[in-house]
C-alpha cells in the first residue's frame, strides 16, 4: 500500500528541484552548442588527440567519422520493404515457486510492406531447468537471474538471424514462383491478373529491402567484466548471428528510445580539457566525473542533437569506443542520432552497416518509416515486445502446467514456499 498523503509532502520538494534542474539544463545546452561549434572547427586535431591518448582517457568518448556538424536528411523509404524484429522477455527463477527454473520467451515479427502478405507475429519460448543452465554461471560469480538476462540477449540475436534466413528463403521461393508464372505467357498472363492484387509490384531481380531491428543498444557493456569463458558463451553466438545477417545483406539496427548516453558529448571533453594533453591517468587520476573538462554533465547527447537536428535528419556517424567492442571484431558498433519527429533516437549499427553507404541509407530510411508508421516508436519493435511479454496470467499458467507435469511424474509435496503462499492469499 502506498500512502499518498505522506507522499504528497515530498512531491512539492521534487517539483522545486526539477524546476531548478531545468534552468541549469538550459544553460548547459547553450554551452554544449557553442562547444560543438568550436570543436567542429578543430575536429581533425581532436581526433588525432583521441587516437594518440585514447588508452589514457578516463572516459569513453565516441569518435566522429564524419564532420561534427553533419546534418543529412534521410531518404523516404521505398513502399516495398520488409522489417524484422525480435525482443525477449522472461520468467525469472524463484526459490519460492514450485520449481526452480526459468523461461525465456523471444517474440519475433516480420512485417511486409507493400507486398500484400500477412505479417508473421509469434513467440518462441524456451525453458531452462538443467543444473548446468541454473548453476553453471556460478563458477564465474554470476547469479542465475543475471545469467538469464545475458542468455536472453544472445537468444534475441540468434532468433533474429534465423528469422532473416527464413524470410530470405521465402522471398527467393516467391520470386522463383513469380518468374515461373510469368515465363508461361499463355496461362501466366491470364491467371496473374485476378490473383495478384494491386499491392504486389512486378517481380524484379532486386531483392526486397529488409531491415532487422532490436530494442536497445548493440553495445553490451555488461559483458566486459565477465571472464572470457562466460563472455564467449554469449558474445560468440551473437556475433555469429550478426555475421549471418551480414551475409544476407540485411542491415541490423539497435533502436534506443530516450537514450541516456553521453558518449558523443564526451568527445567534446577533449576540446574543453585545460591540461596540455588529455592524459587523464596523469593529470586527473581517479576523478573522471569531477575533472575540469566535465563542463556540461549530466547533459545527454539526445538533448544536444534535439537542438541541432530537424525532423527526418541524422547526425554524424560516431564510432563507439566502449571497451567491450574490442571483442566485437568486424561488428564494432557505430551510432548516429536521428530526429524521428517524435524524439531523438540513437541508432546503433555494426561497422558493416555504417561503412556501406547503400546499406546505411536503406537502414536509416526504413527505421524512420517504422517510427512514422508506429506513431513515435517502430511498429516492429512494439509488436515484438507485445509478442514476447509474459504477463502475470501467463506466468501463473506456466507454473500450473509445471505443477500438473510434476504431479504426473509422481513427485509429492509440490507447493510454493510459505512466504509466497501468504503473499497470494493472506488472512483477515
Amino acid at each position: 500500500m502506498l500512502d499518498l498523503l505522506k507522499l504528497a509532502r515530498q512531491l512539492q520538494n521534487i517539483g522545486q528541484h526539477l524546476t531548478d534542474e531545468a534552468a541549469a539544463a538550459r544553460q548547459r545546452l547553450d554551452l554544449a552548442q557553442q562547444l560543438l561549434q568550436q570543436a567542429s572547427d578543430r575536429q581533425p586535431e581532436l581526433v588525432a588527440l583521441q587516437t594518440q591518448w585514447g588508452d589514457r582517457l578516463g572516459f569513453a568518448a565516441a569518435r566522429p567519422v564524419e564532420p561534427l556538424n553533419t546534418r543529412i536528411s534521410l531518404a523516404t523509404a521505398p513502399a516495398h520493404h520488409t522489417v524484422l524484429a525480435t525482443d525477449g522477455s522472461q520468467i525469472a527463477p524463484s526459490h519460492h515457486e514450485i520449481a526452480y527454473c526459468y523461461l525465456i520467451n523471444v517474440g519475433r515479427v516480420a512485417l511486409h510492406y507493400g507486398q500484400n502478405r500477412h505479417p508473421l507475429l509469434d513467440s518462441l519460448p524456451e525453458v531452462f531447468y538443467q543444473a548446468e543452465d541454473l548453476y553453471g554461471a556460478r563458477q564465474w560469480g554470476i547469479g542465475t537471474e543475471e545469467w538469464m538476462g545475458y542468455r536472453r540477449t544472445a537468444s534475441e540475436a540468434t532468433v533474429l538471424a534465423d528469422l532473416a534466413q527464413g524470410i530470405a528463403a521465402q522471398q527467393t521461393q516467391m520470386q522463383a514462383a513469380l518468374h515461373a508464372s510469368q515465363s508461361l505467357p499463355s496461362t501466366g498472363s491470364r491467371r496473374a491478373s485476378p490473383t495478384s492484387p494491386v499491392g504486389i509490384p512486378p517481380a524484379t531481380a532486386a531483392p526486397t529491402p529488409t531491415l532487422a531491428m532490436v530494442d536497445g543498444s548493440l553495445t553490451h557493456w555488461f559483458l566486459e567484466p565477465l571472464p572470457t569463458e562466460a563472455r564467449d558463451r554469449i558474445l560468440l553466438p551473437m556475433l555469429e548471428a550478426w555475421e549471418q545477417l551480414r551475409q544476407l545483406r540485411v542491415p541490423l539496427v539497435g533502436y534506443l528510445s530516450a537514450a541516456r548516453s553521453g558518449e558523443a558529448l564526451n568527445f567534446l571533453r577533449l576540446h574543453t580539457c585545460p591540461k596540455p594533453e588529455p592524459d587523464c591517468a596523469t593529470h586527473c587520476p581517479g576523478q573522471t566525473d569531477t575533472a575540469p573538462c566535465q563542463v556540461v554533465a549530466p547533459l545527454r547527447d539526445t538533448a544536444l542533437w534535439g537542438l541541432v537536428l530537424q525532423p527526418g535528419q541524422r547526425s554524424a556517424l560516431w564510432r563507439s569506443s566502449a571497451k567491450i567492442l574490442e571483442c566485437y571484431g568486424e561488428h564494432r558498433v557505430y551510432f548516429c542520432y536521428v530526429h524521428t519527429g517524435a524524439e531523438i533516437a540513437r541508432l546503433d549499427m555494426p561497422a558493416w552497416v555504417a561503412e556501406d553507404a547503400a546499406l546505411l541509407d536503406m537502414a536509416l530510411s526504413l527505421t524512420l518509416a517504422q517510427v512514422q508508421k508506429g506513431y513515435g516508436y517502430p511498429v516492429a519493435l512494439a509488436e515484438a515486445h507485445n509478442q514476447a511479454v509474459v504477463r502475470g496470467g501467463d506466468r501463473t499458467r506456466f507454473f500450473a502446467l509445471l505443477e500438473q507435469q510434476m504431479i504426473r511424474a509422481g513427485i509429492t509435496n509440490i507447493g510454493t514456499s510459505y512466504k509466497e503462499a501468504r503473499k497470494r492469499g493472506s488472512i483477515a
Partner: protein
C-alpha cells in the same frame, strides 16, 4: 529445436471452410473466422446464413444459422484506432493490423444429419435431416463450413427450425427469422408455395402476436 517459419506454400483449404469452433455449447457455438491467405480481413459470413460443422464422435453433420458476428482486437493491448487510411493504404503501410484483429461468429444450432457407418456413400450421411438439437454440439476446433445451396434447400423443406430461431436467447430473433426466410426464398427463386408454408408456420408459432408477424413478413422480399 526452434520451430521453422510457417511455410510459404499455403495449405490447400476447402473454399467453404471459413471458420473454426472455439467455444461450443448445446444450443450454439462460437467460431473464429480463418484468415485469408492474402492481406485482407477474414471473410464475415452474412447474418442469417447457414453453416455446418461435425461432431466427430457421432459423425453428425450439424447445421446452424449465423446470428452474431464481430471483429475485435485480439487482446487488450491492441485497440483499433481511426487512422484515416483507406483499406489499400492500410495494406501497404500498416500490414500488422490485419494480424491484430479477429473475426468471430456465433451460430445457433438448428438441426443435424446423422451419419451411418455403412451408408455406403462417400460422406456416409443418410438423407434424413432432423430439425432439433443434436445429442452433442460440434467439438471445439472443428472446422466450420459454409453450407451449399443444395444443403440449405434440403434442410428448409421442413420448417420446424423457425421455432428454434425464434427462441435463441440474446439474439435479434425477428430480424434473424426474416433474414433466414428471405435468403431461402431468394435461393428458391421465389417459390411462392414454400413462402406461404413458412408464413403459416410463423403464424402458428407467433400465435396472436400479429405485430411481430407483420414486421417479420414485411422484411421478406425477392
Amino acid at each position: 529445436m526452434r520451430l521453422p517459419l510457417p511455410q510459404f506454400a499455403a495449405q490447400q483449404r476447402h473454399p467453404d471452410h471459413i471458420a473454426e469452433v472455439i467455444e461450443t455449447s448445446t444450443i450454439d457455438f462460437l467460431a473464429q473466422c480463418l484468415e485469408p491467405d492474402d492481406l485482407n480481413f477474414a471473410a464475415m459470413p452474412p447474418f442469417g446464413s447457414w453453416v455446418k460443422s461435425v461432431d466427430e464422435e457421432t459423425g453428425n453433420q450439424i447445421y446452424a444459422v449465423v446470428y452474431y458476428v464481430t471483429t475485435s482486437p485480439i487482446d487488450s493491448v491492441h485497440r483499433a484506432r481511426a487512422l484515416g487510411l483507406s483499406l489499400q493504404e492500410l495494406r501497404e503501410q500498416q500490414p500488422q493490423i490485419f494480424a491484430m484483429l479477429k473475426t468471430e461468429l456465433r451460430a445457433a444450432i438448428v438441426g443435424f444429419q446423422p451419419c451411418l457407418a455403412d451408408a455406403g456413400s462417400v460422406l456416409g450421411l443418410t438423407g434424413q435431416v432432423f430439425q432439433h438439437l443434436p445429442p452433442r454440439p460440434p467439438q471445439i476446433h472443428q472446422a466450420v463450413y459454409r453450407c451449399t445451396a443444395d444443403e440449405v434447400l434440403g434442410f428448409s423443406d421442413g420448417l420446424d427450425f423457425l421455432r428454434s430461431l425464434l427462441q435463441i436467447p440474446g439474439a435479434p430473433v425477428d430480424a434473424l427469422v426474416a433474414a433466414t426466410i428471405r435468403d431461402i426464398y431468394q435461393l428458391r427463386k421465389g417459390d411462392r408455395t414454400w413462402l406461404v408454408q413458412a408464413g403459416r408456420m410463423l403464424n402458428l408459432i407467433l400465435k396472436d402476436d400479429y405485430d411481430r408477424l407483420r414486421v417479420i413478413l414485411s422484411q421478406i422480399y425477392l
